[in-house]
């Protein structure tokens, strides 16, 4: 197990190096000059030259790459020109928001999708199964931005039960004392119910919006793997032993059916990070997603490179985590 983990970690290194090189090349060959974007329409060629040289863009590409890599090893992710801050400090203020949103979406998706998947499998072709199928179809087909705008229109503009889609907490309330950066957790930890209520009410809509796609996929996955397991011999044996149906389903079948679902959940984390880009823009959620969108529009290299790198890291670790959890769930899975 430990050897396996170490080997997997070492295997990550070439992948990450590849990503460093590729994102650098892609951001440099893409058309669009960040200095021109920054300078504004009335800037003279001299102004643009000044900006280029203070950005280091007037140097040869290989030198730029060298500086970038040296910076990375010193923990320097570079400067974000469109916000005027370092990428590291921008990430520090924005990443917690994205993590909170993605985690909330994941939790919502799991809490809703897994029971629905089980119900749909155990009551196959019943009304529950049909309803879940319809909802999965809707969830998988509706684009996030459309759901988001619909939610804002219905719950905020029409009914007035949701807060204004502006950030993570109401303007007249202080954010909770910063411990983890996740407002909901921090409010709980400091017993700050004012902030908890406000941050939860701001989080609910974007989180549901972001979770719809994941919810649909996980529910269908859970249903099909559950159906597969229920038909297997050991389930029949368990029933033959006279175990109660609940024990059969939730103790014996569920654990075995959960493995493929877990794989899908791991893959969905990547989707959640991608979906956060759109959700955050719609709900003015101050996370990394909307930040990267702005960076792309401004041809701002450093944040794009850093975000790709960090996403790859997160993705790699989640994949490793999922693979390790398999072994905990099913002791028959061996690591070689």
């Amino acid at each position: 197990m430990a050897v396996y983990t170490l080997r997997r970690l070492i295997q990550m290194i070439p992948a990450l190096l590849g990503i460093i090189v590729i994102t650098f090349i892609i951001s440099r060959v893409l058309p669009g000059d960040p200095a021109v974007m920054l300078a504004g329409e009335q800037a003279t060629p001299e102004t643009i030259e000044n900006i280029r040289s203070s950005m280091g863009l007037d140097q040869p590409k290989y030198i730029q790459f060298f500086h970038y890599v040296v910076g990375l090893f010193q923990g320097d992710l570079g400067q974000a020109y469109h916000t005027g801050q370092s990428v590291a400090s921008d990430f520090a203020t924005r990443f917690p928001a994205t993590i909170e949103l993605a985690l909330a979406s994941l939790v919502i998706a799991i809490l809703v999708a897994i029971p629905i998947g089980i119900l749909a499998a155990t009551r196959k072709e019943s009304i529950v199964d049909h309803i879940s199928r319809v909802f999965s179809l809707i969830g998988a087909c509706m684009p996030i931005f459309w759901i988001g705008l619909l939610f804002i229109y219905i719950f905020y503009a029409k009914w007035g039960i949701a807060p204004a889609p502006m950030g993570r907490i109401s303007g007249d309330i202080n954010p909770p004392t910063n411990i983890t950066g996740l407002y909901v957790i921090d409010s709980l930890m400091t017993g700050d119910f004012v902030a908890l209520k406000s941050s939860l009410s701001h989080l609910v809509l974007p989180a549901i919006c972001l979770s719809t796609g994941t919810m649909a996929i996980v529910a269908r996955m859970m249903r099909s793997s559950m159906l597969e397991v229920i038909g297997q011999d050991f389930v029949r044996t368990a029933r033959a032993k006279g175990l109660r149906e609940g024990v059969v389903i939730y103790k014996h079948a569920l654990i075995n059916a959960f493995i493929p679902t877990l794989t899908v959940l791991g893959l969905q984390v990547g989707y959640l990070i991608g979906g956060a880009v759109i959700t955050e823009t719609i709900f003015t959620w101050p996370g990394v997603g909307s930040y990267v969108t702005d960076s792309i529009l401004a041809a701002d290299y450093a944040p794009i490179q850093a975000f790709t790198l960090v996403s790859a890291l997160i993705y790699s670790f989640i994949n490793l985590g999922v693979d390790l959890v398999y072994g905990l769930i099913d002791p028959r899975i061996r690591y070689e």
């Binding site: 960040p34 504004g40 203070s54 005027g84 921008d90 204004a164 889609p165 930890m189 017993g191």
Partner: protein, 530 residues
């Protein structure tokens, strides 16, 4: 398995509760010290919805709308614009320059030397006095800056000296009728030299304020909001508002919703299609001013067939002007009849004869030797829905006279780069002149070696008029020369003029004191809430 899970939850929740000893940010004790103690009247606060979060607070480097707005809230300039009332509310009077940090100034007979007499009672927010050395320092910073240095160049400043603590003598390299107007711009804000030197200059001003302006910065986070508090000891008197919050909301539809629901007091960059809807809300008012932002259809004067003025004129006759203004802009724009915005002093539509007339267009094409039309590429940058809509309508009209326009869509960053290379055959673009003067405007766009003349328009006659006008000290004669230049340009039709945008700002009924400025930046000091 289940038991394990349950006990884990119990342990976690107890952990959470015991961590409750960390301070609570919203308990009554923590939230004290929030309210300004000096306010006798109830504090007035305004929240504005902006789209972008800004990139710097450094006056010498600011070049986007939000950054400029931050700078003007925090800093003062030597001189400023007057105001005048029009049918569509209060607007800046760029021809009436008023004292600000300089209480008066003398101009030498040759218009080359300006002696600025500074006010003696101005203190920076740090408490440091504002002196002549602050002015010299600020000018020097601007001269060496990346973004703002071009405006320093436009000002023609040769030297600046300080004979005493409250006097600054600025000598120009040549007479410049725009000098005082340029001096009023945000780039020419005066910074607290003593404070900045203490902090080691450079990066400090990017994220910190060192000004004497009406508002103090409480917080600026480009991702969410900027918060300002009133500078109670401001030398022109404390502002009406105790607090101003800018909320950064990229989605235009959200800005409209927020304003409509009363969650913000003001919103900028309202899409034209939403104006009518907001006007039906009795709690709101929408101020729509004719702005200096123009939109034009540029044709590369060096590329066939657009090197022939007749072809360019034909295009100008083929544009469906009324459709663009009514159907695309919902009436929040007006037809443009000169290369200079109609708000600009010295504007004239002399020589402008274009209207939507396909027969005339066809005739001109035939005269130019293209009886069956021709094909060309229009490069369309992303980011502006109205540009794309305009392109579709123009494409349909051109097709009727045999001209096939292929729309090439590119991302905004790519468009700006290609535009600067000067090889695009045709494109649609906007322009706003910060300095409300035909000389500034034409110098960039229509002078043959102008830095933004990407379509290589070159008329020696126009160049000569522009140079003459720049030297001319008599205002009326100068306007006449600029008028003549505009007339020639209108006849040459290097662009097909599309429209002048309105600047639309929505606000609550109780908000007063909004003034439109040609740079489209809102000055918070004049705002009030009733």
């Amino acid at each position: 398995m289940l038991k394990k899970g349950l006990s884990l939850i119990v342990v976690l929740s107890t952990l959470l509760w015991t961590a409750g000893c960390a301070s609570n940010a919203n308990s009554p004790s923590a939230s004290s010290g929030e309210k300004g103690a000096e306010a006798s009247a109830p504090p007035k606060a305004i929240t504005l919805a902006y789209s972008e979060g800004g990139s710097t607070m450094d006056p010498a480097e600011a070049s986007d709308l939000t950054s400029d707005t931050l700078v003007l809230a925090l800093y003062d300039q030597l001189v400023t614009y007057g105001k005048k009332s029009t049918d569509s509310g209060e607007v800046a009077d760029t021809e009436a320059i008023k004292p600000m940090l300089a209480e008066k100034w003398d101009v030498s007979a040759d218009n080359m030397t300006y002696t600025m007499h500074l006010r003696k009672d101005v203190k920076f927010q740090s408490g440091n006095p504002l002196t002549a050395s602050s002015v010299l320092y600020s000018l020097e910073r601007l001269k060496n800056s990346d973004s703002g240095s071009f405006l320093y160049g436009m000002s023609s400043i040769k030297t600046a000296t300080a004979p005493d603590e409250h006097t600054v003598v600025i000598t120009l390299s040549q007479p410049n009728h725009m000098f005082l107007q340029i001096l009023s711009l945000y780039n020419f804000s005066i910074v607290d030299d003593v404070l900045v030197k203490e902090k080691g200059d450079g990066e400090y001003l990017k994220t910190h304020a060192a000004g004497s302006g009406p508002f103090k910065l409480e917080k600026w986070d480009p991702a969410t909001e900027a918060v300002f508090n009133a500078n109670a000891s401001y030398w022109q008197g404390a502002p009406n508002l105790s607090k101003v919050t800018m909320k950064f909301t990229k989605e235009a539809s959200n800005r409209v919703l927020l304003l409509d629901k009363g969650d913000v007091d003001m919103a900028i960059e309202i899409p034209a299609k939403d104006v009518a809807k907001l006007e039906t809300n009795a709690d709101l008012k929408v101020q729509s001013n004719a702005s200096n932002r123009i939109l034009y259809f540029a044709m590369n004067n060096k590329v066939k067939p657009f090197n022939d003025p007749k072809v360019r004129q034909a295009i100008s006759y083929a544009i469906p002007y009324d459709q663009l203004i009514d159907d695309v802009m919902y009436g929040q724009a007006k037809q443009m009849k000169s290369s200079v915005a109609s708000n600009t002093p010295g504007y004239t539509d002399a020589g402008y004869s274009y209207k939507h007339d396909l027969n005339k267009a066809k005739q001109l094409l035939t005269e130019a030797g293209y009886p069956n039309g021709f094909n060309f590429d229009l490069t369309l940058g992303s980011g502006f829905q109205d540009w794309a809509d305009d392109a579709v309508l123009i494409q349909a009209e051109l097709a009727k006279i045999g001209v096939k326009m292929n729309v090439v869509n590119v991302a905004r960053a790519q468009f700006l780069e290609q535009q600067r290379e000067g090889n695009l055959t045709a494109y649609i673009s906007k322009w706003t002149s910060f300095v409300n003067d035909p000389g500034y405007h034409l110098g960039f766009l229509m002078y043959s070696s102008g830095s933004s003349n990407y379509i290589h328009y070159a008329n020696p006659e126009v160049d000569k008029l522009w140079e003459q006008a720049g030297k001319e000290q008599d205002e009326n004669k100068r306007k006449e020369l600029y008028g003549k230049a505009q007339e020639l340009i209108n006849q040459d039709s290097p662009w097909a003029y599309l429209y002048e945008y309105n600047r639309v700002v929505g606000m609550g009924k109780d908000v007063t004191g909004y003034v439109y400025y040609p740079d489209e930046v809102i000055r918070f000091y004049s705002l009030n809430k009733e």
